[in-house]
Symmetry: C2
Subunit: 349 residues, 2 copies
């Protein structure tokens, strides 16, 4: 495939649902996608989004949700397809008695590699829904090491809406939750790796109602836990590859020319591509450059066909000198990898 | 009117558009509504929302917006009603060439009273749109004195969405802006008057897309400027007077039984009423009581008919012993007042 800047792994996809053991009996792993990525003790870690559904026959639809009163904290709901009050058809969710349910529920699962390409998936979830605001699951986690530990920003959803939850860890065994840092409707949050001008910084993606669209915003914090000075950083460009909705990928990469940020953009047909932004090193609200054309487009088979076809989406990468190894979800179904030279990415801008 | 707890001013409405000088020639004051309220140097101050529109004939629609390149920072846009690409009819806004415009633009205006009932409106805006995020105006400001100054939380809107901006003042002549504290879609933010457990606290009202609704949330801050630990506090109660959307009024009132908060609720027909919440003094996330029936309903003529009829909405009050003097917008058109005994409000819960 013709792409001079970002080179896909020949092994793609590197993880599929068949590589992921279900979290418990009776569950089917439907998708594995959108991993956060990090280095820990010499290995590369992925924090995968694993989407499961309860196993049901063709005559039923089902949903899974957090319920502290059920065994294991999870409740399975099954509805006959001919039940009154059921509206179904969209593979992502259904409406039953006036309430909306998701067909799959996502948790976060670790996978480890010694070579950045071949990963072994842990048998149990690292983090899963654990409170009412996470009742429909947690997903698309960005991971960044800032100061003394890894900070995790993930999208959470429940009947209270979709927002960004935060957790931290220093051992990848125990996780401390810090609550919701960006209230609904919000997702695609990613932290800068270091302070700028005395503050921590993050990208996030609030969504407007009527006014506002789906754009990348910037916020700052004195302590990583409380955020303010929100402002829109860049907007979707109607009519173009990133015309409908955009969102940040993982943490921006510090380069001599500025903060290099890889982001996703969807066009009016819902096709997701990746591009890049360059931000001023000392003033990240200042945009220096932006990809005119996508750096990665859905071209390979698994990028074009799946649960949500024509989609490449990244929220994790690791760095090694001039090389960024990028992990991305393809068609909301499997995990792929790619490599790029940071200098070549900069030269493309 | 039969209402044992909240007693309306016999003088209502206390302010109408006729009492408010336009901010500049060529403007018509369309509505005066939803004031923040406070005490300053022995007087009662209201920070009114004043909605203006450019004066046009019946063959045109018009919009007003912030534009730093125009004289006075405001741009008037006029479109013939038969222009191609215009969709109009809703009094609140119109669509032109794929973009949505508001017919009125709001600014914040001071009014002063020596007796809490008779107010004199200042001739010029106290605060008006001053940056891109405020391009379509600022409105519905809550005012609270915390520590050493007055903190102002107002809704701002632009093509970037509707969010909550913050400013502060100690003299009601100069205002310092602190940026956006709650990103879109958000409004109805109000600060607690003092720290609880080492943090400042605020109500806010994020809105979900698909999931989430329009409910009252709680957030905390170490410094009033950066906010986190967001959580849903109370939800709309489908089928009831507050079944569709709810939002906090002004700051909660500290009482021996808990934090007393007056809030608005709209039902499925869009009728806005006022009710109350009681929250634990030491843990404001703990709801102790909530009004089963409204404490104030649109009953008077000006509360039933206007720009948006059947609406009472409060975001300002002042306290004097056991008396809370409540200011509220009626039908999004005029300002009214009412008084209640705090003990009677508590007894109603």
């Amino acid at each position: 495939m013709p792409n001079p800047v970002i080179e896909r792994f020949p092994e793609n996809p590197i993880l599929t649902p068949a590589d992921v053991p279900p979290s418990r009996p009776g569950m089917v792993v439907e998708m594995v996608l959108n991993p956060g990525a990090f280095r820990f003790q010499g290995r590369t870690g992925l924090l995968l989004r694993v989407a499961e559904r309860p196993e049901v026959d063709d005559n039923h639809v089902s949903a899974l949700m957090y319920d502290p009163s059920s065994e294991g904290g999870l409740r399975v709901m099954t509805v006959r397809k001919d039940a009154p009050g059921l509206k179904h058809g969209d593979p992502r969710g259904f409406e039953y008695k006036g309430r909306y349910y998701l067909t799959t529920m996502s948790h976060l699962r670790l996978a480890w590699s010694d070579d950045t390409t071949h990963f072994t998936v842990e048998p149990h979830p690292a983090m899963q829904a654990a409170n009412d605001h996470e009742a429909y699951g947690i997903e698309d986690c960005r991971v960044e090491y800032v100061d003394t530990k890894y900070w995790l920003a993930y999208a959470l959803s429940s009947e209270n809406g979709v927002g960004v939850g935060m957790a931290s860890t220093d051992d990848w065994k125990t996780y401390e939750r810090h609550g919701i840092i960006f209230s609904p409707h919000n997702k695609d949050a990613a932290f800068f790796p270091e302070k700028i001008g005395g503050y921590y910084w993050a990208f996030h993606r609030p969504s407007g109602i009527g006014l506002g669209g789906n754009n990348i915003w910037l916020a700052r914090s004195p302590d990583m836990l409380h955020w303010g000075a929100h402002r829109r950083l860049v907007a979707a460009r109607p009519g173009r590859w990133d015309g409908e909705r955009i969102g940040a990928g993982a943490a921006p990469i510090k380069t001599p020319r500025g903060w290099l940020s890889i982001y996703h953009g969807a066009d009016a047909t819902g096709r997701y591509c990746l591009g890049a932004l360059l931000l001023d090193l000392n003033d990240p609200a200042r945009v220096l450059a932006r990809s005119e054309t996508p750096l990665l487009e859905p071209e390979a088979g698994c990028e074009r066909r799946g649960f949500y076809g024509n989609c490449v989406f990244t929220n994790g990468h690791v760095l090694d000198g001039d090389t960024v190894t990028l992990y991305y979800g393809a068609s909301d179904s499997v995990v792929c990898g790619a490599r790029a030279s940071i200098n070549a990415l900069l030269a493309s801008l």
